[in-house]
């Protein structure tokens, strides 16, 4: 059972959270203008990398807040969690935060 660092409540057990899949997939501005294929990609297609992945989590059993995380899907290690209004951390930033040990 992993500990997931909720940006608000701090580390809590995995079972308190629900998974939201890939992060930073915005709802299209005007779906009506999308082709069926473009719409299908929004509805059904998500990235599935082996390795670093920006994804969404919800602390459902706690503060009910959604947040984003950078997690390695091969090691399951959380490199960083960030609030929805924070920008997606860049690679260099992640490297730095790891050196500084500020990564969760």
């Amino acid at each position: 059972m992993q500990l997931i660092p909720c940006p608000w409540c701090g580390p809590r057990e995995e079972a308190e959270f629900s998974y939201g899949g890939q992060a930073h997939v915005p709802y299209p501005d005007s779906p009506a203008e999308l082709s069926d294929e473009e719409w299908a990609h929004y509805v059904f297609f998500r990235a599935n990398p082996k390795g670093r992945f920006a994804e969404r989590w919800n602390h459902g059993a706690g503060c009910r807040r959604w947040f984003n995380a950078i997690r390695d899907t091969a090691t399951y290690r959380f490199e960083r969690v960030y609030r929805l209004d924070d920008p997606k951390p860049g690679v260099t930033e992640l490297a730095r935060s790891r050196e500084e040990g500020t990564a969760p």
Binding site: A15, G21, N48, E55
Partner: protein
């Protein structure tokens, strides 16, 4: 000396299984993934179509992925016509597979019970049974007392949290011994001259316009006339190399096994509401699957609370399991699709065939998909059973939504 315990050991494997050849420069067909699907495809390419200039590339050891990690349940009692067709075709092949492979695959048609615990379970179950009958799939609805007759150890008390209200039963369903199945296909393919290349990880593809011309591997670049991806769990890793988007998410799926026990569980029992699926394998061990872990993961491990919940469900439904022991846990990587149905067929690349998205259903389909994919490769046209499972369905919206239809997973 006392006689050996019946069923406590397995038939011996043959003295010769396969060569360990160096990969050739190129092949007519390169199959990426030496699991059950890849090996079965190789076998039927040779047997049904006489295509033997084939390489099966495996990044680890043959059948070391989900084929080595699943709970070996075989059934065809799926709801939708498209699904029951593909799995029933597979089941018919299973019924003749031991002879075909000349290998003791221990296919045991002991029947599968899918328990219903709520009124909606009952509706969904009856719906599935009626559909199965009309599709020529053996299926029946059992009342609780009949469930007890098939599997006396199931707790059919009305006092439990979610009493058993009945079950669907497919008598022809059952289990097989996964290593034996995989090695049976592998041996046949090897005998036909097909190269099974292990420790050979695909690191990229060479392409020319809308054709894939070869695969780059840790053992060099290998030319290919046709490429088939049979890399359950890792499909996205490969398609990402080709810039093909597939609606696949890879999740850990855990399973577990107990010590060897005297025969106590004569069939296969699955329950969605009280999540458990269990059979007693040939040596006497209880084999169980747990739920899919919620997050994407390639780690071949899941969280233990999922196992604990699984144990609670098992003891709830089978009180006699209380002091059976968990001996070993493990996990596979299932690639799940949006409609819980597989994705099989052509891609943006003319000569590249996709076979993925089987989720938890891959093992039972092994001979069926091998047959169908071999046909599809040989004819350049989808085999009828896989035709409905193309990528385009996600664009048109013509899904084959098995979880939408509350069909039982695994």
């Amino acid at each position: 000396m006392s006689p050996r315990t019946p069923g406590a050991d397995l038939p011996e494997h043959p003295d010769a299984l396969w060569r360990n050849p160096e990969p050739k420069r190129s092949y007519d067909v390169v199959i990426v993934g030496g699991g059950g699907h890849g090996l079965a495809t190789a076998h039927y390419l040779a047997k049904n179509h006489g295509i033997t200039d084939v390489a099966v590339l495996e990044k680890g050891w043959l059948a070391g992925g989900n084929m080595a990690r699943n709970t070996t349940i075989i059934r065809s009692n799926y709801l939708w016509d498209e699904s029951s067709a593909i799995y029933e075709h597979a089941l018919k092949l299973w019924e003749g597979l031991e002879e075909d492979l000349g290998y003791p695959i221990l296919f045991s048609q002991r029947g599968v019970l899918n328990l219903a615990h709520t009124l909606q379970d009952v509706r969904d179950s009856v719906r599935r049974v009626e559909a199965n009958k009309l599709n020529g799939v053996d299926a029946e609805w059992l009342e609780p007392d009949e469930v007890r007759k098939v599997c006396p150890i199931v707790n059919t008390s009305t006092e439990i949290r979610y009493p058993v209200l009945g079950a669907t039963y497919q008598p022809r369903a059952g289990i097989a011994k996964h290593d034996y199945v995989a090695w049976g296909f592998a041996r046949r393919a090897d005998q036909a001259g097909i190269d099974l290349v292990q420790d050979c990880e695909v690191t990229g593809f060479t392409t020319d316009g809308d054709r894939v011309t070869g695969v780059q591997t840790t053992r060099g670049t290998i030319g290919a006339g046709t490429v088939a991806l049979c890399a359950a769990g890792h499909t996205s890793v490969l398609t990402d190399m080709l810039g093909i988007r597939v609606p696949i998410q890879s999740h850990p799926l855990q399973a577990l096994v107990s010590e060897l026990l005297e025969p106590v569980h004569p069939t296969v029992v699955m329950s969605n509401a009280v999540h458990v699926y269990v059979s007693q394998a040939h040596k006497g061990e209880l084999v169980m699957g747990a739920g899919v872990d919620s997050y994407n993961g390639y780690g071949q491990r899941g969280a233990f609370h999922v196992i604990e919940r699984q144990m609670a469900a098992a003891v709830e439904l089978f009180p006699v399991f209380a002091r059976a022991h968990l001996l070993r846990t493990w996990a596979g990587i299932v690639d799940t699709s949006p409609d819980a149905s597989p994705i099989v067929g052509r891609t943006a690349y003319d000569n590249l065939y996709l076979n993925c998205g089987w989720g938890t259903g891959g093992f039972k389909a092994t001979p069926g998909i091998g047959w169908a994919l071999a046909h599809t490769i040989a004819h350049g046209e989808p085999h009828p059973t896989v035709a409905p499972f193309g990528l385009d369905r996600f664009v048109t919206g013509a899904l084959v939504d098995e979880h939408g239809a509350a069909a039982v997973a695994h």
